[in-house]
Symmetry: C2
Subunit: 197 residues, 2 copies
C-alpha cells in the first residue's frame, strides 16, 4: 500500500504520543527512556528527535494534545441523567475507574506531568492552561445552579476528586463511594459564608 509522506508522518506522531502517554503513566517520566518510548510506538529514537527535538519536546507536545481532549467524554455521560445524585455518581465513577478503552492509568500520567510541570518552566504554563480548561469545562457542565460562581465549584470538585482518588489508590477501602458523593454534594450546594448574618 502506498502512503504519502504526510500520512506517514502524522501516523508516527500519533503513535509516539499515545505510546508516550501509556508508558509514562506506567513507568514515570524519568523511568521511560527515549528508546523505550520509541519502541512502544514501534519506531526508533530517531523518529522522536525528528518530531519533537528532544524528550522534553515530546512531553510538551503530549500536554498540548491532552489539553483539548478533556471535558468532552465527561460531559456526555454527565448529562445522561437529570438527577443530581446520579450525575455526581457518574462524574466520580468516571474519575476513579475510567472506561477500559482509555488508558487505565491516566490519573497517574496526570500526576506525573503535574510534578514535571512544577519544576519545568515550559511545561508549567501548559499544565496550568490544562487545569484552567478543565475547570471551565466542568463549570459549564454544572451550569451554576446557585448564585455561587460555577468555576469556583468546579475547582473544588476537581480538587476533591483528585485528592480522594489519591487516597483510594493507595488503599481502596479508605474512601467509599458514599463519602465521595457526600463530599461532592456538600460542595455543590455551598452557600455564602454568612448564612447567619
Amino acid at each position: 500500500m502506498r502512503r504519502s509522506q504526510d500520512q506517514r508522518k502524522a501516523e508516527t506522531r500519533q503513535r509516539l504520543l499515545q505510546a508516550a502517554g501509556e508508558l509514562i503513566a506506567e513507568r514515570g517520566v524519568a523511568g521511560a527512556s527515549v528508546d523505550a518510548l520509541a519502541d512502544a510506538a514501534d519506531r526508533t529514537s530517531g523518529a522522536i528527535y525528528a518530531h519533537f527535538g528532544d524528550k522534553e519536546g515530546l512531553l510538551v507536545a503530549l500536554l498540548d494534545e491532552w489539553k483539548d481532549a478533556t471535558g468532552d467524554a465527561v460531559r456526555a455521560e454527565y448529562e445522561a441523567t437529570d438527577d443530581e445524585g446520579a450525575r455526581f455518581a457518574a462524574l466520580w465513577r468516571n474519575f476513579v475507574s475510567p472506561p477500559p478503552n482509555a488508558s487505565d492509568a491516566w490519573v497517574l500520567l496526570e500526576h506525573e506531568l503535574w510534578l514535571y510541570a512544577c519544576r519545568n518552566e515550559r511545561a508549567r504554563s501548559r499544565v496550568a492552561a490544562r487545569y484552567d480548561d478543565a475547570r471551565r469545562a466542568l463549570a459549564q457542565t454544572l451550569h451554576a445552579s446557585d448564585g455561587t460562581s460555577a468555576e469556583e465549584v468546579a475547582a473544588l470538585f476537581i480538587a476533591l476528586m483528585i485528592g480522594l482518588e489519591m487516597q483510594r489508590r493507595l488503599d481502596p477501602d479508605a474512601i467509599t463511594d458514599e463519602t465521595a458523593l457526600a463530599g461532592l454534594r456538600a460542595l455543590a450546594h455551598l452557600r455564602q459564608p454568612a448564612e447567619n448574618v
Copy 2:
C-alpha cells in the same frame, strides 16, 4: 571532640534523611542521584549504602520517619482558636505556605513519594499508613462536631486541600483563600444524604 560510634552513626543517619527530603522535593526521586543525596548531607555514597542498603531503602526509611511527625504541628496551631473560620484558615494556611523553617517544598515531596509508592510494593503500604495516620490525627483534631464520621470528614478535608494546592501551585490566582475556606466549611457540615426523606 570525642564522639561515640553510636552518636556518629545516628547523626549521619539523620543528616542523610533530612538531605534526602530536601533534595528529592527539589529534584524528584529519579533526579536526585545517590551521590548527590550523600553530598547534600556532607557524606558520601558509602554512608548511604551502609545505612540503607540501596536507594530504595533510603526512601522507605524516609517514609517511616515522616509517618510519625505529621499531625502534631498542625494540631497546635489549629487549637489556638475556638472560632471555626479561624481554625480552618489556620489549617489551610499551614498547608499552602508551611512555616519557613520546615522544608518549603514538603508538598512536592509528598507527591513525589506518593507517585513512587503507586509503583512500588514496599513503599505503598508505608505511604498508605501515613495517609491513614493523617486522617486519624485530623479526625481527632476536628473531634466530630456532628453525627457524621469524623474520619470521613478528615479524608475529605485532606483531599480538598491537596487538590486545591495542586491547582494553586501551577497558578496562584486560580484558587483564592475564600474559595478554599468555603469548601472546607461546606465539607465540615455535610449532613446525611437524605435530608428530604
